[in-house]
Symmetry: C2
Subunit: 486 residues, 2 copies
């Protein structure tokens, strides 16, 4: 580089000076740049050349201009890393398979519970203190006082009518038109997925899923003796509608399509509305039910509600599943399902599987969600998650080996990190757990070997100096394991 400096334009030379400082961390993320005036003195250049250098660095994503404040080093230096690799949709889709993921998931859960975890980057929800624990506790105590026989009185079979009513009201904002009668309360989204799949599939059937897919879904499929057909999924726009269409044309016995349209787990991508609409039209044409898991949509950075796939449902062929675990309280087991034309069967299956949920948590959640406190909580949580995500992304950029790729989603709390080829995520995960660092390795999200170099890293925690230390250590472990090196 040095040798070319003389032939470079002046502004490039100035930019080069600061680019190095930013990459070295001398100018830390969020730091204010030296003033343009001081740059003119230091580099003996004109004001316009100094400004041009700053704009150039801004174009590179290293600086950001703040109105009336000048230039600052961007919080996330993510542009220093390439975006996540897109899937090759021309590649033939794998044959539908029984998943074979039970052992992996059970081992992962057991390993996590056995180990002394200092840094849990695996949990797909925010830290307890980022949820309204105090307000929910008070709501629960009020409910206990107001209904002294709450714990000893049985409840109706579809769940608390009050909770179903507020959920129906919230669904309106996501483009759905539901009433309380269209909703069954479940023990969380995993139970919703269970009853939804049991309502439309028989053992042996094939279910089209995103690739990579949430391991919880793959485990549900396996436990129900269903085959997973992994459809190429873009880290930026979600399930490939073209690839799904091809699969529906060529595979028999696809009995359902399961998608996470908003902030997909693990990719973090959001399906564009046009894709959601095409998905519904396509599946309706092939008479295949769509099951959507819409657990994360309330966690979008800008707070503008994302539409559910069910918003385009015209003939009851979309089953909508969701949960309050990520948005309201990880300690509550509250999900729900709206079953479209399979609703009666889903009601029956929920009853046959675990009867109605307890009343206390339903009343507690209903009171909180109906109040403006829920919106205030969501606004705060979104702000926190956005800042944490940027900070975690920064740490990854700073510490992970060259060749690492990832996108930073516009909401929620999951980062899908593609390590350089040859860097085995399972070995990274194992080595990290020995040091008290927990992440989810890529092989949990697929039946293929396609994600063996990927990690899912959560940003649902305050990025303290200690957490940064944990992320740096994780990056060092990954760097040390490239090409199988120790």
């Amino acid at each position: 580089m040095e040798t070319n400096l003389a032939s470079e334009p002046l502004y490039q030379r100035v930019a080069h000076h600061y680019r190095g400082a930013i990459r070295a961390g001398t100018l830390a993320p969020g730091a204010r740049m030296p003033s343009v005036r001081s740059m003119t003195r230091l580099h003996q250049v004109s004001l316009s050349t100094a400004l041009q250098a700053c704009r150039h660095l801004e174009d590179e994503g290293l600086l950001e201009a703040r109105p009336r404040s000048g230039y600052f080093v961007r919080m996330a230096r993510r542009l220093a890393m390439p975006p996540a690799r897109e899937p090759d949709t021309a590649e033939a889709v794998d044959a539908a398979r029984y998943v074979g993921i039970h052992d992996r998931v059970s081992a992962f859960v057991a390993q996590g519970e056995r180990s002394a975890v200092k840094h849990d980057f695996a949990a797909a929800y925010a830290a307890p203190e980022q949820y309204p624990g105090e307000a929910l506790k008070n709501a629960a105590m009020r409910a206990l006082r107001q209904h002294p026989d709450l714990l000893v009185k049985p409840v109706g079979s579809s769940g608390d009518a009050g909770l179903r009513a507020v959920l129906a009201r919230r669904a309106l904002d996501a483009g759905m038109q539901l009433t309380a009668h269209d909703i069954v309360i479940t023990q969380g989204c995993v139970e919703s997925l269970n009853v939804a799949l049991r309502a439309v599939c028989q053992p042996g059937d094939t279910v089209a899923v995103e690739s990579p897919a949430y391991y919880g879904l793959l485990q549900v499929l396996e436990s129900l003796s269903l085959r997973a057909l992994e459809i190429p999924t873009s880290p930026s726009t979600g399930l490939s509608i073209e690839a799904l269409e091809l699969a529906l044309q060529t595979h028999e016995r696809i009995q359902a399509v399961v998608v996470v349209p908003n902030f997909q787990n693990p990719l973090g991508c959001v399906m564009p509305d046009a894709h959601k609409q095409r998905l519904v039209e396509l599946c309706s044409r092939f008479e295949v039910p769509v099951i959507e898991d819409d657990t994360y949509s309330a966690l979008c950075d800008d707070g503008v509600p994302l539409k559910a796939v069910k918003a385009w449902d015209r003939d009851g062929s979309v089953i909508h599943c969701a949960s309050l675990r990520k948005t309201l309280a990880p300690g509550l087991r509250l999900g729900w399902v709206s079953g479209g034309r399979w609703h009666a069967r889903i009601q029956m299956l929920k009853y046959a599987q675990s009867r109605a949920n307890e009343a206390l948590s339903q009343i507690t959640a209903a009171e909180f969600i109906a109040s403006s406190a829920y919106d205030r909580h969501l606004a705060r949580l979104r702000r926190l998650l956005k800042a944490q995500r940027e900070q975690v992304a920064e740490c990854i950029v700073a510490s992970f080996p060259e060749g690492t790729r990832f996108n930073v989603p516009a909401g929620s709390l999951l980062l899908w990190v593609q390590l350089p080829e040859g860097c085995e995520a399972q070995r990274v995960s194992d080595a990290a757990l020995e040091r008290g660092i927990r992440v989810v390795p890529g092989p949990l999200f697929s039946n293929s070997k396609r994600y063996d170099n990927c990690l899912r890293i959560s940003s649902g925690f305050p990025v303290t100096a200690e957490a940064q230390q944990g992320l740096r250590e994780l990056g060092r472990i990954a760097g040390g394991l490239i090409n199988g090196m120790p």
Copy 2:
């Protein structure tokens, strides 16, 4: 009768006098008999003849002697009705069938929720006020105060360790040797049955069940595409071991046997210990797992713990399922399962089906069960249930049509009433519901027509004058529908 009086022994004449008064209600149930001395004066007989008359009435079940208090009219005049008919074990067992009970159960649940029910004789648990609502409420509030982040913090995968420890301690009294690690907490016994059956069966398999069987179990079987093979079951000693042995010899693909050994639902019978032992040995020999639903055993009148079938388990082939819903709190969804040699698979299935239970109810229940308050509650509940059962039995004797048969179990809260042949229980149930009276008709408990004349009547409520009125009305409805009349 009058004409024979002169030739009767003296003590018979005396007994006759009082028998008439007892049957007419002049001497009410629970009333003290006139003193033996006053009988000698009234009837001009010797003391030994008066005593002989009393003993004769005692043998007939009309009187009971209470130490140092004399004779009293028995609370239940049930001996005026014949005991429940025993099954014909020589009859060939029906072919194993997919149950086809979904619609019946769904209709029954929906019908009950739609109707204005004044008298709920269908609920298989005691009235809310007979459970420790206040103490549980206080325990829940304490738990919320002590763990302010309880609702926002996720929980471990097998359930609260404290609750599992106290359940293991209680299991010891039922003859089982378990540790907390052998227990998975579930959303109630129905979820326990689901994961137990899913652990040992594949769709299409046959499961041997009692006949009649709990409709919840039949529904679980149907929802899992399992076939039910109904084994003759005695209303007094439970599942016929001989009939089961024959079935195991002649049917292929029996992959599990499900029994309710203690206070079977709906029969109320208790399997003698010798039968339990033979059941375990038989199934072990045929390498078929036994799944026991031991939900009611703590409700035995005398408080002497009944043994679980698992007490005889030597090779891990018994899966023990239970629940706290009937004994502690109908509003809590807390069951458990101890999976023997399938325990790891059951843990995995529970995780894949609905994740871990919420912590609050587990901590609440654990605190209460660990204290002596639980034993005091159980003692009180047993006393209440015994008295209520006797009173309900009396009402049935007094109001139901001739030819009605039933046993009165020595615990729990279910009465299985065989109406006279030709009296259709479904019609009785429908007509009763129109008058606000809810019972469970026999067809819900079998895939055969064998119990079309049976009703399950709960005695889990205070037998007020109003409740007695409801039972009398039920008896009149049944009487009016004999042979399809009117």
